[in-house]
Symmetry: C2
Subunit: 401 residues, 2 copies
């Protein structure tokens, strides 16, 4: 930990990502097994003697285990999306966790009370076993042979990981976007082991336009010849061009149109006038997209992107657990549920959270639902810490009362 004199109020301080190898193979929805799975994780706060204060925080598509505090070991990462990507830590090149505004002493997930655990997802590229990891059967990176994993697979991996830490119950599972899907999946798969779930800017099943955006992003990667069918490791090239396009698509869907107008307008790059070129950015927003794409490909693996994108489009609680009925899928849930959506989020719109709320209410289960009126789009879950914090704190207080 950093010395107290350099730790800002409410900060976790310095942290290191750690690693744990699962002792048993992981059985996947696709029917395959993964052996020798390693999980990258961080923890914040102190585990209570009765182990009843654990919060599992789940990251979204481009996140990692580094959710809070300052990491000295990965200075080049910025695991926040959209406008949030700009909120870097300027202190000595150390990187701020992607949800640092929500996790820490006195924060929404209060490390003075809770032991917060964050893992990199199965299939990831930031320390947990994924397509770029060595296949123990061959010693070479999995590449194209890495299976298509599901949100349920990720959650089973988290379950197996927590078993190793000796943690059986979770006071809460929390996350935004794909992270919120994991929280929902936990409540359905392990109803007796989850006290509460905090599901932010998420859904029980992505709508068709969202499926389309994800499909387009994956196409951009897979149509890049440098992808080489997924076996690009060690070849000296990688599908950076396609990944850049994928990131641009994602980026615009994470933000609202009014936010882009407020931020960039139609301002030109050159002080003067149009340059009548195709290959130089003319508008500020074009230059911004270029920059976002370039910085993303430096820190993220294309094969991981493909699988996490696939997983979040597959996710469909009603289909998987309810024979088409969301109510039936949620019938066994015992966790209290907090749902937060953002008015300007058109990728994970409030309507999806409302459907979950309605299903839980119809079942007579405890659920709180809040829509935060905020302009930034889906990215709000990383930006609107100030307004999420009292909702989360009150919800967790009431759940512990």
């Amino acid at each position: 930990m950093a010395s107290s004199s350099t730790v800002p109020a409410g900060s976790i301080g310095g942290v290191e990502t750690r690693f744990l190898d699962l002792p048993a193979p992981l059985r996947l929805d696709c029917g395959r097994e993964l052996r020798s799975v390693r999980v990258a994780y961080e923890t914040y706060g102190t585990l209570s003697p009765t182990r009843d204060n654990v919060i599992l925080v789940c990251h979204a598509l481009s996140g990692d285990a580094h959710a809070a505090g300052h990491s000295a070991s990965t200075p080049d990462t910025g695991t926040r999306d959209g406008f949030a990507a700009e909120r870097r830590d300027g202190a000595g090149g150390r990187t701020l966790g992607w949800w640092d505004g929500m996790i820490g002493p006195g924060k929404a997930f209060d490390t003075d009370r809770f032991f917060v655990v964050s893992t990199n997802l199965l299939g990831g590229c930031r320390g947990t076993t994924g397509p770029s990891s060595a296949d123990p059967g061959t010693g070479r990176p999995y590449g194209s042979d890495f299976p298509v994993v599901t949100v349920a697979d990720m959650v089973r991996c988290e379950r197996a990981f927590l078993d190793e830490l000796g943690i059986e119950r979770l006071a809460a599972v929390a996350g935004g976007s794909l992270g919120g899907m994991q929280a929902l999946q936990w409540a359905v798969l392990y109803p007796d082991q989850v006290d509460t779930i905090v599901v932010i800017a998420s859904t029980h099943a992505l709508h068709p336009q969202g499926i389309a955006w994800n499909a387009i992003a994956r196409e951009a990667i897979m149509r890049d010849p440098a992808w080489q069918g997924g076996d690009y490791y060690g070849t000296g090239s990688a599908p950076d061009a396609g990944m850049g396009v994928a990131r641009m698509v994602g980026h615009i869907t994470y933000l609202s149109a009014p936010a882009l107008t407020d931020r960039f307008g139609r301002r030109l790059q050159s002080a003067g006038d149009l340059r009548y070129t195709l290959d130089e950015p003319e508008f500020e927003i074009e230059s911004y997209l270029d920059h976002q794409a370039a910085s993303f490909v430096r820190r993220f693996d294309a094969n991981t992107y493909l699988r996490l994108s696939r997983a979040l489009t597959y996710f469909d609680l009603a289909r998987e657990h309810g024979g088409g009925s969301l109510t039936r899928a949620l019938a066994g849930v015992r966790a209290r549920t907090l749902l937060i959506a953002f008015s300007s989020d058109w990728l994970y719109p409030p309507s999806a959270s409302e459907e979950i709320e309605t299903a839980l209410r119809d079942l007579g289960k405890p659920v709180d639902y809040h829509v935060i009126d905020a302009p930034y789009g889906h990215d709000c879950f990383l930006l609107e810490e100030g307004r999420q914090t009292p909702l989360v704190r009150t919800f967790l207080d009431e759940s512990r009362a």
Copy 2:
């Protein structure tokens, strides 16, 4: 013309695209000149003796001169976007014009009264001089040397073309999307030669999110190694992969999210269950996107796409003609204006048309503005003929009264 027995009521019948070479070079906004410009065009109806019944119809990004009737010569084209792309002519492989529902005897642009002229845009790939045309200086296709053209350049080309037909005044200039931009540009550049403009699902300046979608589509093309900097003609390869992604992006922006939900839902391709693959479509909407991409690359040139996309993001009446003020830009307009927007169009939203209406009203100029409540998004301008028709007919009647 087809014999009357095979012509459906209200149809133009069979048509052929014709070609005209401009006698003088065309001076462009970028400062360059284009020599030996050829224009592809079609006409419908009969020119009046006083030449006062001419309507110029302007196409959008992926259109061409074939706006109405059946073309036997280009059986493989489908120049409509989105859902509209499916409305093909099943009769003997002949292709229906992209605005056939709006142009014909008794239709919105009534060929019993008007002489309707439609040209392929400057920079196009469907007969008018564009990047795939032979540069008269070298005899080889322009490729990367073809200039970046503007909407004003396109309109000047249309002006020069109409000069050759001996047409000075236009009873109307009409179009949707990029076509509507041309109509607005006509009213500003040639105020004394345009009686009315019909501007549908268009804008005086695309909003930043729209700039971003276009930039992403262009990036997808230019990052495809097969693009070869624009000089792919004759090399045996073309940036089909990148064009496909560009088309997918465009396609989703042309439709509304609810329309995609109604049409595709989350239905899977395989009757059974998930296949856990990356490279096969799992959802119906993914298969649909693949199909749209594949059919588009067969009929459209990537270098043309790049230039038309650039032109429609450049277009900005206030910047170009008003020192930043739309009202000043429109001060010289003498045409009566009809604006139509669609409630579900998020790419060219009603707010853009409202800004034009407000500016014209502030100037005391005659303007009609209608928002049609329809669910399909931007594509409505190609789909909602039934509800546009009375608005256009009434407007043109009143203008001729």
